[in-house]
Symmetry: C2
Subunit: 251 residues, 2 copies
């Protein structure tokens, strides 16, 4: 993953244009690495580079990334890039495609798959990118947020855009239920418990209205089935029934 003169990372490069506070550069690096992005370029950082404040805020990210590259002009910073995305909070009077962060995240993977080198521009705190800077981008990214309170700080903007890219990398099942050392109970165990419960409920007079028994019994079975207990949990349920029965007998 080391970057040499002739290689370009197969992931977006993040470019901060005229960033002001070192803290925000550090927060950017942390957000990037959270999302697996490792290549940061700076155009004219106001307070110079390197920055102790950036190091402190990056929570170790800057040390784990290749060296940050510093440029005098945006043109130099994007010279080797095929497609440039620019994040903007407000609409611009420019005829350029505007994408959501989500659709841009997907599009960037396609760009990279097509062999393109791509960059994402973020403007300075407060002012954002100038129109001249935005002009150098091919596509604009706007994050759909609460229109009455949409101002994000720099690190948060970088986090959301990087996150959308990262979701094409760090896949996870949408939903999963880890079972630890236990297995989901096989049907014979589950039914064994339920048959026992039903027998005990009948013996203890739970089913007061005989014609309702089938419906109520089915509902109870459905309740336990929905919980999809493990075999350990079936053992626990047996213990609960035993304990309750014992208590009643001793009374």
């Amino acid at each position: 993953m080391d970057r040499t003169e002739n290689s370009f990372p197969s992931q977006p490069v993040i470019i901060l244009v005229n960033p002001q506070m070192g803290e925000n550069i550090g927060a950017t690096a942390r957000a990037m690495l959270n999302c697996g992005l490792r290549y940061l370029r700076l155009v004219n950082p106001r307070d110079g580079w390197p920055s102790e404040k950036a190091d402190a805020m990056s929570a170790g990210a800057l040390n784990a990334m290749p060296p940050v590259q510093v440029f005098d002009s945006l043109e130099d910073a994007i010279a080797d890039c095929h497609t440039v995305y620019a994040t903007t909070a407000r609409a611009r009077d420019l005829v350029k495609p505007v994408m959501t962060a989500r659709s841009a995240g997907t599009a960037m993977h396609q760009d990279i798959h097509d062999g393109q080198k791509i960059a994402i521009l973020f403007g300075a705190e407060r002012a954002g990118l100038s129109n001249d800077e935005v002009m150098m981008a091919h596509k604009l990214i706007t994050i759909p947020l609460n229109p009455d309170f949409s101002s994000l700080n720099l690190g948060q903007s970088v986090l959301l855009v990087s996150y959308e890219w990262s979701q094409g990398v760090f896949n996870a099942p949408e939903i999963t239920t880890p079972l630890g050392k236990s297995n989901p109970a096989p049907a014979t165990l589950f039914n064994g418990f339920f048959d026992r419960l039903d027998t005990e409920l009948l013996a203890t007079g739970f089913y007061r209205v005989p014609e309702m028994k089938d419906i109520i019994s089915r509902n109870i079975r459905s309740l336990f089935s929905r919980a999809h207990p493990t075999d350990q949990e079936i053992n626990t349920l047996h213990g609960i029934v035993t304990s309750l029965l014992t208590g009643r007998t001793q009374k």
Copy 2:
């Protein structure tokens, strides 16, 4: 949207359990309101409540939200909730469904559509939620991030989970190209420009190999068509052609 004793917001309530620094509570409020979430509850904030540091970091969000509610115990804080989500960074030895932030964002809209009152728990800085606290949740949320560098600060965790919920609220077209005051050029304007260009190219000897003319001409038309110019841009293109021709004539 005001919350009274008998109403519960039709959006997730965010609950910070044992939060430490006021700054992080403020950052949480800002991230929430960015995503349209307005209801924040605190369980035992270490440095008390209200907090000047929280106000400063919230960038005005705390003033725009209903008053934050403070509770002595998590049980009290979730007492009126039907379904409780808990965010965890690490796997737990618990048999509970674990969802991605994205799938949880979708599921919460369904919960609310079904009439449920829901809450999302976030643990203290560093330690996160204890196992006893996680036990009170029905579903766990884990954000898929760089496994080698996955530690988020509290405000960033709240931002990503809230953002995923918000994308079901603040819809935006995946991609759009705003045209400002100009319209996309009708075909007659576009073709008029291209026919002129082609005529001038022919006259100026651009097509050196006659049998290649059709292919090259088609490629040029395709290039301009891909740009999908507005009528203003067609005028500009005419001006460019005129200017170039004039320069040549005067030479």
